[in-house]
């Protein structure tokens, strides 16, 4: 029995067309784009072709794309680079509590360097309130960063509205679109953002390639100093095979996005309704489905299962060939409750039972039915042996979690 992969937020498999586009740059086309002879210029051409394709994916101009080694680097670059470049204007930045660690931690590092950071609260669905942003902005504010969509709970933030508030106040706006780029259309002009981070391996491209869109004319301090690569903004010999792959993956994504979103929304809805139907005391985390304006990522189904511990659930599912995730490195590696879930008002106990199924194009209806067959049995088995099987015991009222419906 082959494993069924439901962890597309962790990474995606490489598309065969993408691998094919990468291969020549591992082999005969190995040149350095800075070299003046043909072999180098050949690599330079590939680099610029990839830049155009990535630019098209987000509706940007090619010169507004800076390649990085990952989404995390793009996020670090945006937060540190933009905040530092604007430091004379003010030393206050705003990020939301939904952010990935690659945004949160550079923000914390800036705090240690004397910047003030406001962490915007979210509602029970993980949504940032534009009103809260409006009132958090001060004369000292130089940068706002709010994630486009959460890989942990699937929430799509009102980025367009938030970016408009930042712009009205003369404040730069960055969004981390690593989790959304393969699922949602991104148009930097329509969103009105100044900077966007994306990562190739989240849309069927290779690991080792990410990009930061930076609106033309925006100053940024480099994270990596050295040579003149990326117009002097990011030094280091470019990872041409990965970048060429990212370009191909961007091209495929742009062409296939509506089809992908359609298929993954259907699979997601089947999985969510099935889980809520078949398992008692399970809560959908993030926005509900089928309620007008779509606030949830296609292909994203996340839950908190009561009275059991997430790690055991993931391991037992893996033994059944179902690969899912807990949604946060905090819970899966550090056995801490996820800060994102806590910020949404989920209790620390319930957050332990967090599970995320993130779907991709290789998933089938049959995969979903298989998961719906096995998951309830795993939960039943764990509850039989759980010390909390009879309930959490005494729970304070403030620890109430999101209601089931």
């Amino acid at each position: 029995m082959g494993a069924r992969y439901f962890d597309y937020m962790a990474t995606n498999p490489l598309r065969p067309e993408v691998l094919e586009a990468m291969m020549p740059f591992f082999k005969e086309r190995f040149g350095n784009p800075l070299s003046l002879y043909e072999l180098g210029q050949n690599a330079k051409t590939a680099l610029e072709e990839a830049r155009s394709r990535v630019a098209q994916l987000v509706g940007a101009k090619p010169q507004e794309i800076i390649f990085t080694s990952s989404g995390a680097e793009a996020n670090n670059f945006a937060i540190r680079g933009l905040a530092s470049a604007q430091a004379k204007k003010g030393r206050h930045i705003i990020v939301s509590k939904m952010e990935h660690h690659s945004v949160l931690n550079p923000a914390r590092a800036l705090e240690k360097e004397g910047f003030a950071v406001t962490y915007l609260p979210v509602d029970k669905h993980g949504l940032v309130d534009p009103g809260a942003l409006e009132s958090a902005i001060t004369r000292e504010t130089s940068l706002v960063s709010v994630i486009h969509a959460s890989p942990e709970v699937g929430t799509i933030e009102p980025v367009r509205e938030l970016a408009a508030i930042a712009r009205k106040n003369g404040v730069l706006f960055h969004t981390d679109a690593v989790a959304s780029a393969g699922y949602l259309p991104i148009d930097v002009e329509a969103l009105g953002v100044d900077a966007v981070s994306i990562s190739a391996h989240e849309f069927y491209g290779p690991k080792g390639a990410g990009a930061l869109y930076l609106k033309g004319g925006t100053r940024i301090l480099p994270l990596i100093y050295g040579g003149i690569q990326e117009n002097g903004r990011r030094a280091g010999t470019e990872n041409i095979p990965a970048i060429a792959g990212m370009g191909k993956a961007a091209e495929l994504t742009r062409a296939e996005l509506p089809e992908r979103a359609g298929k993954l929304t259907q699979l997601r809805d089947r999985l969510i309704s099935g889980v809520l139907e078949k398992i008692e005391n399970v809560h959908l985390t993030g926005p509900a489905i089928g309620q007008g304006a779509e606030q949830r990522l296609p292909g994203h189904a996340s839950f908190c299962v009561e009275f059991i511990e997430g790690e055991a659930m993931l391991l037992m599912l893996a033994a059944k060939g179902i690969y899912a995730a807990s949604g946060s490195a905090c819970s899966s590696k550090a056995l801490k409750a996820s800060p994102v879930l806590l910020s949404m008002g989920v209790s620390a106990q319930l957050a332990q039972g967090s599970i995320v199924f993130s779907l991709g194009m290789e998933n089938t209806v049959e995969d979903i039915e298989y998961a719906l067959g096995e998951f309830p049995a795993v939960v039943r088995r764990l509850r039989e042996i759980s010390p909390y099987a009879g309930g959490w015991g005494k729970v304070k009222e403030t620890d109430q979690c999101i209601p089931k419906n």
Partner: protein, 83 residues
């Protein structure tokens, strides 16, 4: 160093926070796009530009008009030579 004020540029390149040798590369790249007689403004906070840009102008025969100081960067003005 020749300090100037109020020169109007036809084209501006903002390379503040970009290090050596971006000031020379950008200078060369932008000059190619200018017509003879047009003025280029380069905004940079790289101190080495204070010697490099006038020298480059001398070598290439373009006219170095001077530099203006802004609070945290310099504005260099260069007129492209005639044909």
């Amino acid at each position: 160093m020749k300090f100037v004020e109020g020169i109007k540029a036809d084209v501006t390149a903002d390379i503040v926070y970009m290090m050596c040798p971006m000031h020379l590369l950008k200078l060369e790249e932008m000059m190619k796009t200018l017509e003879a007689g047009q003025v280029l403004q380069i905004m940079t906070d790289y101190d080495g530009a204070l010697t490099d840009i006038p020298e480059w102008c001398e070598k290439t025969g373009n006219e170095f008009l001077g530099v203006e100081e802004a609070p945290d960067f310099y504005k260099f003005f260069i007129r492209k030579k005639g044909r």
